[in-house]
Symmetry: C2
């Protein structure tokens, strides 16, 4: 496919149609190779007209979430420099684990796995995460140099990144609901998931999964997903440029990730709090074994929510199902 | 091998020699099968005499750390009920991961992997852990129902278990040096390692690795291991019964593990502190990025050491290289 994208670049740079001979000369490939690559590009969603007299012309770019398109907008140092793309995969987290089974995590640091569709997408605690075509389903592989007890700061950084990217791109009032969800109004639009493999001294790797309901119709959401959910396209009335949004999310994430690696937790905590719809709310949180009720008063540098129970006692909770009461 | 151990049981139950015919009748197997199993038992270290006139007699039990021998002493409910035994493996942690790659962690909960020798034993942060024959090199697979931020309590429970078992079996003054080592006097005799695979809500699995220098000669220690180390046999002047010691360690571990699963952290913390040679010491701790100096004043319910720096500031540290200064 590498060569096909070089053909695409030539088509993008020219305004009108361009002859097969011209492309073949510029790229030093045969005219039949040009034709082969045009067919490859059409197969992944690019509309390219071809005429005997005028040559080739790109008439519409692909609406797939292709690494080529994301990279056009990407302004990062290490996150997403390498990507893997799947039309369909059980889940991007499981694809990441397959990669990690045979590769040094160090070498995969920052790699982003993208899928058009997940057939077995997972949310927190192994729950089903419906992931049809049109969403953004990615996993970032990370090998952060941080103490393992600060690892859930990465989920906070991811949540801030998604909320900020949505706000900047579409002027929607996205907020973070603890622990891992992004809401617009009272509807969920995105979620995050962090998996880690670690010792006390060393993080072997982290997998930050992100799912954004980008271009999914209200009808599809209503029939496929339980609960109160929305999508960006449903909110603003037309499809969004997923490649541009993902590039923005990755950039927003990277700047916070680098803060955390530099042990600068406070700016990320402050930002998370300013975007949180959970802080100052009365909450009921169900964990594996307990139910806590009280007022959410803070989040700490370990990513734990701090609540004040009615008896005045302070509890810190690393994760759980949270209801705003 | 299952059938061979049934033959062994018959030999253990009889005082003097016993005829092949007797064993063959009791177990409903052929006399040639009896002979085959006797040869198998000899191959794993059991001395069994055989005479045409008198029959078979067990004259010395194997000094290998066989599950059969550990189970004879084991008084646990779930830890070590299942075991896997390797004469030699790169590391019991890596053997555990191989098992987990194809099995549900739930089903492996409590399984103990034993190796006579590790060819690539690892300590904290991927460091080499010399693991010759004569030591106890085990990994316990755990799927604890605890919040992930309390996971390093398991290392504390393991350290308490090893120190207590050594104290009870041999009346040696074993103490815990933070974070993961067991000392006799100023020499290391054992170490622990915890690996985890987790989300914020769910621990997929933990691997608790334990290494005890049991029957390793001072000479072998001196030539193979850097630093100040000892072994149980070097301390007490003769080899110890590794199977009995391991059974005791597993029992001591289980009772603390069940406390932690029941969210009863305090008794384990108190015990850890009473066995710690680090608390109340001046320490210098090197972590990935920082060096902390001060007085070790406490350990918290997350397994973090709490130190008071000279400027009065309190720091909590989850892991690092610790020097008592």
């Amino acid at each position: 496919m590498e060569a096909a994208f070089r053909v695409l670049e030539v088509l993008e740079k020219t305004e009108g149609p361009v002859s097969g001979e011209y492309i073949s000369n510029i790229l030093s490939i045969s005219r039949s190779a040009v034709w082969k690559h045009v067919k490859e590009l059409r197969a992944i969603g690019y509309d390219i007209s071809a005429s005997q007299t005028e040559g080739y012309q790109l008439t519409k770019k692909s609406n797939r979430l292709l690494p080529y398109e994301v990279h056009k907008n990407l302004r990062t140092r290490m996150i997403g420099k390498k990507m893997r793309y799947f039309e369909s995969t059980p889940s991007t987290i499981s694809s990441a684990k397959e990669l990690l089974a045979t590769s040094d995590p160090e070498k995969l640091n920052g790699l982003v796995i993208i899928a058009e569709e997940q057939t077995g997408g997972v949310g927190r605690m192994g729950r089903v995460w419906v992931s049809p075509t049109g969403g953004i389903w990615v996993t970032i592989i990370l090998k952060p140099l941080i103490p393992v007890d600060h690892v859930f700061m990465l989920t906070m950084a991811g949540a801030v990144a998604v909320a900020r990217a949505i706000r900047k791109e579409y002027d929607l009032g996205a907020l973070i609901k603890w622990p891992n969800d992004i809401y617009i109004g009272d509807k969920k639009v995105a979620g995050l998931l962090l998996e880690l493999s670690a010792e006390a001294d060393t993080i072997h790797y982290c997998l930050l999964g992100m799912g954004v309901d980008a271009n999914i119709s209200s009808h599809e959401l209503a029939t496929k997903v339980h609960g109160s959910v929305t999508s960006l396209s449903a909110e603003i009335g037309h499809d969004v440029d997923r490649a541009a949004l993902l590039a923005r999310i990755l950039k927003e994430f990277e700047s916070r990730y680098l803060l955390i690696e530099g042990q600068e937790y406070d700016p990320v905590i402050r930002e998370w709090k300013s975007l949180s719809c959970t802080i100052d709310q009365r909450v009921r949180i169900s964990t594996l074994k307990n139910v806590f009720e009280g007022e959410a008063i803070d989040i700490d540098e370990y990513g734990a929510l701090v609540i004040r129970k009615d008896n005045g006692r302070i509890e810190r909770i690393i994760a759980g199902d949270c209801v705003h009461t």
